[in-house]
């Protein structure tokens, strides 16, 4: 195996393990992360041409360690130019023996790294960028392309994120047990953000960004492998699989969006649905319920309906009622209102929506207006529905959403 795509897959898998080895050996997460990135870039060029080395992880550790040695030497030389101790550490002392055997605790390193990259001192975009590079093994150029910013901007963001982690005094170690639940919640949120970046972009000119869904699912799978007993990790993985399964049907070739009720369900990914349903069923049976499990369960009910009319809205309503208790938020209320409308009629849904009118978090939100328009349309109030679709179309910053909302409004022209 030496195709560029296969090499890239292997490198992404090895990246966090190599970084773990380096950080435990040298400390200095920021410098080690740069060194590993350079080793990955070197491998991405050489392996497809020369073939994958016998011990790929050892190769990467050796190359990255050499890079670290150079950096450490360079810094010493700068600091103490007159002293002859700049090269006090012979290269061999730094360089790994090359064997993959004896590199300890590889699996745990990935988890430790995830916790570090999702450090609470970082903003969400920084957590996302650093996770993709340090844990996902993506290059800065790939992360930059995924977020449609110049490579220099993304490089700066990643470097700033590492400085912030350093300044916060974070260490390459698992967070203390009392902090772990909260930190894991952030990790799950970051993986969900990565997924959504790819999912919402999966049409039109941004197809490359769509790779992020694959990457998020890969990382969630890895996390589930490391923490098989955690129901929320299983819930997130199930939610990603059950949502991604609908991706082939969610947009037309011209990039326009197809609402769930109108999607061609024969194009949904049956294998992903089966895997997601099995995961969420098992998690719900074994572990305390949480928001990702509930969202996955809702996605499963949608995915299991052969036709939109077969959707078990009563079950979805019960799940939203639970979700509203476990993790209340304006977005949950929005979706809860849709489920309520499908079971008890549009007026009941509109009544629940009205509770969001005074909520500052939803002020000017296009989705609130879009849902209201939909429920008004169901209630037969065509004029009001048209007006709300137009309001939603003006507020969204998404081109395909705007096109969809304007289309709905146009359909209701007298």
């Amino acid at each position: 195996m030496s195709g560029a795509a296969e090499v890239e897959g292997l490198l992404r898998e090895l990246a966090p393990r190599v970084l773990g080895v380096l950080v435990r050996r040298y400390g200095q997460f920021d410098l080690c992360e740069d060194a590993v990135q350079e080793a990955l870039l070197a491998a991405a060029v050489r392996w497809p041409a020369d073939g994958v080395p016998e011990r790929p992880r050892g190769w990467l550790v050796t190359v990255a360690s050499r890079r670290m040695t150079d950096q450490v030497r360079g810094e010493s030389a700068r600091r103490r130019r007159e002293e002859a101790v700049a090269t006090a550490s012979p290269a061999d002392e730094w360089v790994a023996p090359g064997a993959d055997a004896g590199l300890p605790a590889a699996a745990d390193d990935t988890l430790t790294l995830l916790f570090l990259c999702c450090h609470p001192a970082l903003s969400a975009p920084s957590q996302v960028a650093l996770t993709l590079r340090a844990v996902g093994g993506l290059t800065t150029a790939q992360v930059a392309r995924a977020f449609l910013v110049p490579e220099a901007t993304m490089a700066q963001r990643i470097s700033r994120a590492k400085q912030t982690i350093k300044a916060a005094g974070a260490r390459f170690a698992m967070p203390p047990p009392p902090e772990r639940a909260e930190r894991l919640r952030v990790v799950l949120q970051v993986l969900y953000l990565i997924f959504n970046e790819g999912y919402t972009a999966s049409s039109g000119p941004d197809l490359q960004r769509a790779d992020l869904t694959t990457e998020a699912i890969r990382l969630a799978r890895e996390l589930h492998r490391l923490l098989p007993g955690d129901g929320e990790v299983a819930g997130l993985l199930a939610l990603l699989l059950l949502t991604d399964a609908r991706r082939p049907a969610r947009s037309r070739p011209d990039g326009s969006l197809v609402p769930l009720a109108e999607q061609d369900r024969s194009r949904w990914d049956a294998a992903a649905i089966a895997e997601g349903v099995a995961l969420i069923s098992s998690a719900l049976a074994r572990t305390p319920v949480g928001p990702y499990q509930l969202q996955a369960a809702i996605a499963a009910v949608h995915d299991e309906a052969a036709r939109a009319d077969d959707t078990d809205w009563r079950q979805i309503l019960v799940l939203y009622e639970l979700l509203a208790q476990v993790a209340p938020s304006p977005v949950v209320t929005l979706n809860h209102a849709v489920a309520l409308a499908m079971v008890r009629g549009p007026e009941a849904g509109l009544e629940l929506l009205a509770t969001l009118d005074g909520d500052g978090r939803m002020a000017g939100n296009h989705r609130l207006e879009a849902v209201r328009a939909h429920l008004l349309e169901l209630a037969g109030d065509t004029a009001a529905a048209r007006e709300r679709y137009r309001a939603a179309a003006r507020r969204t910053t998404s081109l395909p959403e705007q096109r969809y909302l304007e289309g709905r409004a146009a359909r209701l022209e007298p």
């Binding site: 901007t153 993304m154 700033r160 941004d206 769930l260 395909p400």
Partner: protein, 118 residues
Amino acid sequence: MKYVVLIYSNPATWRALPPGEADRVVKVHNDLIDELTASGEFLSIYRLADATNARTVAARDGVPVVTDGPFGESKEVLASLWEIDVDSMDRAVEIAGALIPHATVEVRALMDAAGLEM
């Protein structure tokens, strides 16, 4: 979220500034560019040539008609355009706040090709 920050100013006001004030404002702008570059929020800046160099092109009976000068009668004209990528509109407005001396600043969200089906 990507935004453009549009800075409108009146060239006459700018010329009438007391000595040193123009340099001070330019330094505020340059320092802000450095800060936004370091934080990874800066994407690009366009500084526009004086509006006397502008041509306005409009259709009259389906034929393009060119006139000298900027579109509109306002004394304040577009002077520069910053493209930024920040967490929220609040952060964009905070950045715009540093640019208001002797100018009017408008923050506009950019459209995204990504979207969620409903």
